[in-house]
């Protein structure tokens, strides 16, 4: 194991439990603001994972867009709606809880089985090629050449999202 791999491992050992704990805390806490703040910590952990995976651009975007802009929006909405209003969710479906636990265990078995079968052992086909000349440069290059079309269609997606928010939001009481 080289020293850089060792460093990666140490960072992962610190980040991974933190990510799991904050994710659990986010779901389990009853206070919406705590929930949002725990989500921010979780997003930072994810950004750390992206750096470990040599996806520096995604890591930066994760911090700027998710941990920054989107979480601020969340908190704004929470503050505007008033905190402390606990929403009591009544269970509508009978047997939903045991079924959920059973299916979650099934998923766990499937994932562990897949790991044991070596699904993720293989070297990804394209990491070195994709990151040629630096991660950020490579993304910039490919976004405006090969994926121009996808990039432009994303604009239409944003128009639809904006119009949709308007239509659903402007409704009179």
């Amino acid at each position: 194991m080289t020293s850089s791999e060792q460093a990666e491992l140490i960072v992962f050992i610190i980040l991974a439990p933190l990510a799991v704990v904050t994710a659990l805390g986010m779901v389990l806490t009853r206070n919406a603001v705590y929930s949002a703040l725990l989500l921010v910590v979780n997003f930072f952990c994810l950004a750390g994972f992206y750096v470990l995976l040599e996806a520096q651009f995604v890591a930066a975007v994760q911090v700027i867009v998710y941990a920054g802009a989107i979480m601020v929006l969340f908190l704004f909405v929470l503050m505007l709606l008033g905190i402390g209003n606990e929403v009591v969710v009544k269970e509508q479906m009978r047997g939903q809880r045991p079924a959920a636990v059973l299916l979650a265990l099934g998923l766990l078995v499937a994932i562990v089985g897949a790991l044991a079968a070596g699904v993720f052992d293989a070297e990804p086909a394209s990491l070195a090629a994709a990151n040629e000349g630096g991660n950020v440069e490579a993304i910039g290059r490919i976004l405006f050449t090969r994926y121009t079309f996808a990039f432009e269609t994303a604009g239409i997606l944003l128009v639809v999202a904006a119009v949709g928010a308007l239509v659903l939001g402007k409704r009179q009481p």
Partner: protein, 506 residues
């Protein structure tokens, strides 16, 4: 040299912009934006004006589709490919869009009541169609995802366009489950990219033919892709949302969802599974065939117990997705599977839209069954329909018989070609299940006709309200009925056109 300096000195090769290849999509996008501006700056514009503009946009897109009919090429460095599937799906989707525009123009309120669907529904309809057409043409998984999101987002909003509780609930359910399935699809795309090094379908096809490629990672990706697509075409076990959403959504939007989403969803299903992943057919065929069996049987069995026509049509659309999955399962080894599925989509789109049009008409004849739903679609409301509204009942009979698959109508040929392709692919057992499911489905389709023709109307006939003037709905009903009968009488030309769709460019 600093890597950044090096990167900036390399000239950026400008992408080739093939305007002609995406001309119909451009027309739809321009029409959508124009309609948005009209809605924004001319709030008093009537529904007739907006519908007229929408139809003009669709006509322009249709003209450009015809202009591009013989074009076969891959454009934008593999982002979109023009081939048989693309042009066939474009033609069907634009026709479906025109019928849906007429239904939306009619609106779902009764005579004298204010219409409660907002004018933004017209541009959203165009954007949804744009997403669908793009989905059928996409040959890069990234474009597939974006197109799918464009159409889904538009449909979520269209489903919740009215203030009725049921419509709001339908939109919420569709949105939550749709977002969940999109995540599966995206994860599948990521794993496929990890395994093959590309999101381009042509390159994935090359990589799957390569025995040194990592099999397990790719298979995990293919499985997740299948989950995403099966959800969108509402196949069992990812069908739970369909009945609630179809019932709660305003009828014109439900019709559009039922017909157009299936066309686009199966077009991309065929392109990705039968085309790009054709080399892995041994691995995915059992999964798709299993889903087909479940979808056909569960859809038909649950449709039998429904007492609401919209809900019944939702379960019927599930079982039709099952027949189409037979076509997909066959398509990887038998080219006729592709053409049979495309032809099935064409006929199914008009039959199911027609059935929903009759629902929309009958809904105008009286007070709603339930204020939350705001529509009148219970089977009880169809009692004695033939006595008082012979034309509506006659068209209902045409659509129900066509959905059953009774010979001279279009639905029979659709099933015939799909079953033939299934047998040719060696899936005889699957075709046997499909026939059993068709027999079960005959029960609930014909029951609607029994109610409409043989039972006495309940209550005071004077309590029924007049349907009011329904010019747009009348034209749409006439067209759907005519197409269903005409395709049934002369399917040769259209199946021949579908045969030209058999070669998938990737």
């Amino acid at each position: 040299m600093h890597p950044l300096a090096q990167a900036t000195t390399q000239p950026l090769p400008l992408p080739e912009v093939d305007w002609r290849a995406i001309a119909p999509e451009l027309a739809l996008a321009v029409a959508g934006v124009v309609l948005l501006l009209v809605v924004a700056f001319w709030p008093r514009a009537g529904r007739g004006v907006l519908a007229g503009l929408t139809l003009a946009g669709l006509a322009a897109a249709a003209a450009l589709t015809v202009w591009n009919w013989d074009l076969e090429r891959v454009a934008f460095e593999g982002a979109v490919s023009l081939d048989g599937i693309t042009r066939y799906a474009r033609a069907v989707l634009l026709a479906v869009g025109a019928l849906a525009t007429l239904m939306v123009a009619q609106g779902d309120s009764r005579e004298g009541e204010p219409d409660d669907s907002p004018p933004e529904v017209f541009p959203l309809l165009l954007f949804a169609l744009l997403g669908m057409v793009l989905l059928a043409a996409a040959s890069d998984l990234l474009v597939v995802f974006i197109a799918l999101e464009i159409l889904s987002l538009s449909l979520y909003v269209m489903a919740g366009e009215t203030r009725r509780l049921a419509a709001q609930e339908a939109a919420m359910k569709y949105f939550l489950l749709g977002a969940f399935s999109s995540a599966f699809l995206l994860y599948g795309i990521a794993l496929c990219y990890g395994a093959t090094g590309s999101t381009n379908l042509l390159e994935i096809a090359d990589a799957t033919g390569d025995p040194t490629a990592d099999g397990t990672l790719l298979l995990a990706g293919v499985g997740l892709l299948a989950v995403g697509f099966l959800f969108k075409v509402s196949a069992v076990p990812f069908h739970m949302w369909t009945p609630d959403v179809y019932q709660g959504t305003p009828t014109p939007v439900a019709a559009f969802m039922a017909a157009a989403t299936k066309v686009a969803g199966f077009a991309v299903f065929l392109r990705v599974f039968a085309g790009a992943l054709g080399g892995l057919v041994v691995s995915w065929r059992p999964v798709i065939a299993g889903a087909a069996v479940l979808t056909m049987l569960v859809g038909a069995a649950l449709a039998v117990v429904q007492t609401d026509l919209k809900r019944m049509l939702a379960y019927s659309s599930i079982s039709h997705a099952g027949y189409l999955l037979v076509g997909v399962a066959a398509a990887a080894t038998v080219p006729a599977g592709v053409s049979a599925s495309m032809f099935y989509l064409l006929t199914y789109a008009f039959m199911v839209m027609g059935a929903f049009m009759v629902v929309q008409y009958v809904s105008r004849l009286g007070p709603p069954d339930d204020d939350a739903i705001g529509e009148r679609s219970s089977l009880e409301d169809y009692r004695g329909l033939a006595r008082r509204h012979p034309w509506a009942a006659g068209l209902l009979a045409v659509f129900m018989l066509a959905l059953t698959g009774i010979p001279p109508l279009s639905g029979f040929w659709a099933k015939y070609y799909v079953f033939l392709a299934g047998i040719e692919a060696g899936l005889t057992w699957l075709v046997v299940v499909a026939v059993i499911s068709s027999v079960i489905s005959a029960f609930f389709y014909l029951r609607v006709l029994v109610v409409a023709y043989l039972q006495e109307p309940v209550g005071d006939p004077g309590a029924e309200t007049a349907p009011g003037r329904t010019p747009a709905l009348g034209v749409a009903l006439g067209l759907a009925g005519l197409l269903t009968v005409a395709i049934g009488l002369a399917p040769e030309a259209l199946i021949a056109a579908a045969r030209s769709a058999e070669r998938i460019l990737g």
